[in-house]
Amino acid sequence: MMYAAVYAAQFPLQALLRLRGDLKSKPVVVMEGRATQETVCALNGQARLRGAALGMTRLEVESMNGLVLLARSAEGEAAARAVFLECAAQFSPRIEEASRGTACALVLDITGTERLFGPAQTLAERLRAALAAAGFRASIAVSANYHAARMKAAATRGITVIPEGGEAAALEKLPLATLELAEEHAETFALWGMRTLGELAAAPETELVTRLGAQASDWRQLARGAAEHAFQSIEPALSLQEFFEFDTPVEQMESLLFMGARMIDCLVARAAGRALALVSLTVDMKLEGGRMQRLALRPAVASMDRKFLLKLLQLEIGAHPPEAAVVALTIAAEAGQSSKVQLGLFAPQTPEPSRLDVTLARLKALVGEERVGSPVLEDTHHAGCFRMQGFAVDGKASEQDREPARMALRRMRPPLPIWVVLSSIVAAKDTTRIEHSTMTPAAFRDAVNSFEITAAYGPWRSSGCWWAGGAWDEEEWDVLATRCDGTFVACLLMRDRMRNQWRLEAYYD
């Protein structure tokens, strides 16, 4: 067997700094705890040089000049951990979590990966580079023994490859604290003058067990790099999500986009690691006051083009600017197979999907989202009802309907108010009753023209939605009419029976 242990110290700090390159060269401490009782839970080297230390209170660190104080973010750490795990998963499907305290540690079973990634040293370098690209600094140790790799990675910086059989030698200089002993036992070893794993490994096993119990045998095995371990692999689900909490509420779109760009970069890189592309992005903005605002980006085709995705994000935020200052930003992506469109030799050229998306997004920002797309008839008897659905090019040649050509109807939007004269053919013998008479439109005029109707067919009636506020009751007439200048038109007149209003609804082409 062969294991590679990855150890990222000060993980709360790394989780916050990986998207904040500007702070990496500054002394930063991460505070946790309730407002009045905050203490330092992680810090970088620069902060340590200025005298900061773990466990210091806010008052103490604030007294030191130049320190940047950040609040620990559980959501940010969870997102960062998922990214950390994903980077590791690129090198082995078998991973065990070995995190301790504020560090994030993983052990990879890399048995049999030489042909894929080369020797252990090469794998370790590539793994470290992948983590660095994702914004993490981690130490790596490779060993045939699980615990040897884990402890060596936690105790050293950089990359260590322990040759098979050399575990004891590799561990001998490590402090006994590596074993994370209870305070009582640590004191006992201190009294005995034992300080390193090498000294423990050299001690006689029987004597140790006699004095400290059976667990001393396990410690000795660990110190010799010979302890056995039953590997428990975790199965990380692909969760493409990035989270960032701003230090102060952000109102400017540029700041949002700056951070959004970083997050999209990470998401694209993570998806690319699995040969996937981003099918959709969901942007959740936590606003000042606790409200949430959600934006959704769904490009026509799955994409890995970060510039294109960023442009879509910019247009979407431009179309739906946050209603208040943004406190935190979460971008979740849905991954899918990257699109591959087989172009036909004789098929008409269609616009490039990404450019089409950007154009559509620009149009949406310009005229409103509900006014861009393809019209789709609503499932209702109410004439002319439609909704817009997202426009997409599927790349397939459209199949022409085989229906015979029908007369086209050109609807007026909005319909034109008209004045109508009715001719009444009284049907009832009792002429005082007009409810049973046939009254047909005989002439009408709009604001400009007058028309005389030569033939009228109808009425065609529809009504519905009686249970809700949108009730309608309408009748339509198909009429042939001549304008005063002698031109001939075929049009559709509509009478709103509820309001008794007439409209010129459409022309027949």
Binding site: L377, E378, D379, T380, H381, P417, I418, W419, V420, V421, L422, S423, S424, I425, V426, A427, A428, K429, I434, E435, H436, S437, T438, M439, T440, P441, A442, A443, F444, R445, S450, E452, I453, T454, A455, A456, Y457, G458, P459, W460, R461, S462, S463, G464, W466, W467, A468, E475, C484, R497, R499, N500, Q501, W502, R503
Partner: protein
């Protein structure tokens, strides 16, 4: 050109806002006007109406349909529920109260004539394939018997509870005494037109004509002020003209009054398992499937007046009502010189004497004889003597064999049966004898 100065502005009434209908007419048609002028109330009979007994397909009780028909001065109305005669008894009783004639029929689903119209494929709600239904009306007692047997035949063919559908062979076997109307949306001609055009519609009509005879098949026209329906009507008129078949107007009534359309919409939602908001085009397009007056129908069919006139003709041809169901109980063989009534009287007298002839019970004899006399008169009037003699024969056989005989119902509770020592389930029920008849 009309005087534009006389035109009214948008928003002001240009006609009576409550006018209930407009016929699909051409502005140049004056013929319709003349016919409307002469239309009297009784000249249209609604022959295609379904009640709420067409489960979730009709929204009014049979009584409501009859009451509305009476309000509209309709002299008769026909009830045709889906695949059954469930509502006819109530329909008939209500019609007797209202003094109008109740024609009996049923919408019968038929296999072998294609499938009913279905929603276009692009609509979200689709329905299962169903056979088309056409209306069969009972012209005579034989027609009623045939319709009953037809329904029984195809219902019994189903292995589980189901609507069922008649085959063309069933129609041929039980065709006499029935008048066939081809139906509206749900009918076979609408289906044939949609699937195969006019030629298929002609073939279907010819098939039906060969089953029912040309004089008993009517091409049904319905006008609910929908364009697609009118397009179909024009095609049907062409089919009828080509084949020399008569056309008939009907409104495919599903509710008595316009307002009940709301109830039908709710029923439609229940039937399809959807909400009102989500039902879309499953719901009716307008409120036109109510009972309309003769004037309204005449206005609607102003261009085809014979379609209206034929409703009256068909109504006159429908002689059958539930008043003369025509059922006769079996005859009981009696000795020469006796009628069933006289033979029954003697047997009852024997029984009365056996029960009350003893001196101790002489006091009840006169009372019993009076009751028996009353009952025998009623039995003779209703023609039930054969039935009671069969009951007497069965009692006699059981008594010989030593079986206990007990009866239930109004006949078993009669003094006649009591005289034969039939144990009634309710001993004190004499006074209710045949009171339900």
């Amino acid at each position: 050109m009309h005087n534009v100065a006389n035109m009214r502005s948008p928003g002001t009434p240009v006609c009576h806002p409550n006018d209930e209908y407009r016929a699909p007419v051409s502005a140049t048609s004056k013929q319709a006007s003349a016919q409307l002028q002469s239309m009297a109330d009784g000249e249209y009979i609604e022959l295609h109406a379904a009640s709420a007994f067409s489960f979730l397909d009709g929204a009014s009780q049979p009584e409501s349909l009859v009451e509305r028909a009476a309000e509209l001065n309709m002299p008769a109305i026909a009830l045709g529920d889906r695949n059954g005669l469930y509502g006819v008894a109530r329909f008939h009783t209500a019609s007797k109260r209202s003094g109008i004639k109740a024609h009996i029929g049923a919408e019968i689903a038929v296999k072998g004539l294609g499938s009913r119209l279905r929603p276009p494929a692009w609509l979200p709600h689709q329905c299962a394939e169903e056979p088309p239904r056409m209306l069969l009306l009972c012209a005579s007692q034989a027609g009623y018997q045939n319709l009953s047997q037809l329904i029984t035949r195809f219902k019994m063919r189903e292995a589980t509870k189901a609507e069922g559908a008649a085959t063309l062979e069933d129609l041929e076997e039980f065709s006499s005494g029935l008048i066939c109307m081809t139906g509206g949306d749900e009918g076979p001609l609408a289906a044939a037109l949609a699937h195969g055009g006019a030629s298929q519609a002609r073939a279907t009509a010819e098939k039906l004509a060969s089953i029912y005879g040309r004089g008993n098949l009517y091409i049904e026209l319905q006008r609910h002020q929908r364009r697609e329906e009118e397009c179909r009507n024009q095609a049907l008129v062409g089919v009828a003209s080509t084949l020399g078949l008569p056309v008939i107007a009907a409104n495919g009534v599903r509710y008595a009054v316009e307002k009940d359309r709301e109830l039908l919409d709710v029923f439609t939602c229940i039937r399809n398992g959807v909400t009102l908001d989500g039902a879309g085009r499953l719901l009716t397009a307008n409120s036109a499937r109510h009972l309309r007056s003769a004037r309204e129908m005449a206005a609607l069919f102003g261009d085809i007046p014979e379609a209206i006139a034929n409703t009256r003709i068909v109504s006159e041809r429908l002689e059958f009502t539930l008043n003369n169901l025509g059922y006769e109980f079996p005859h009981y063989p009696v000795p020469d010189g006796e009628t069933m009534d006289s033979f029954l009287r003697k047997r009852v007298e024997e029984g009365v004497l056996k029960r009350y002839g003893a001196p101790a019970r002489r006091g009840l004899l006169d009372k019993a004889r009076a009751q028996v006399k009353h009952e025998l008169a009623l039995i003779a009037k209703l023609g039930f003597a054969g039935y009671f003699l069969i009951v007497w024969d069965m009692i006699r056989f059981c008594q010989k064999q030593g079986f206990l005989v007990q009866g239930r119902g109004s006949a078993a509770n009669s003094a006649v049966c009591y005289a034969w020592k039939l144990r009634p389930s309710i001993r004190w029920a004499w006074n209710f004898f045949l009171s339900v008849s």
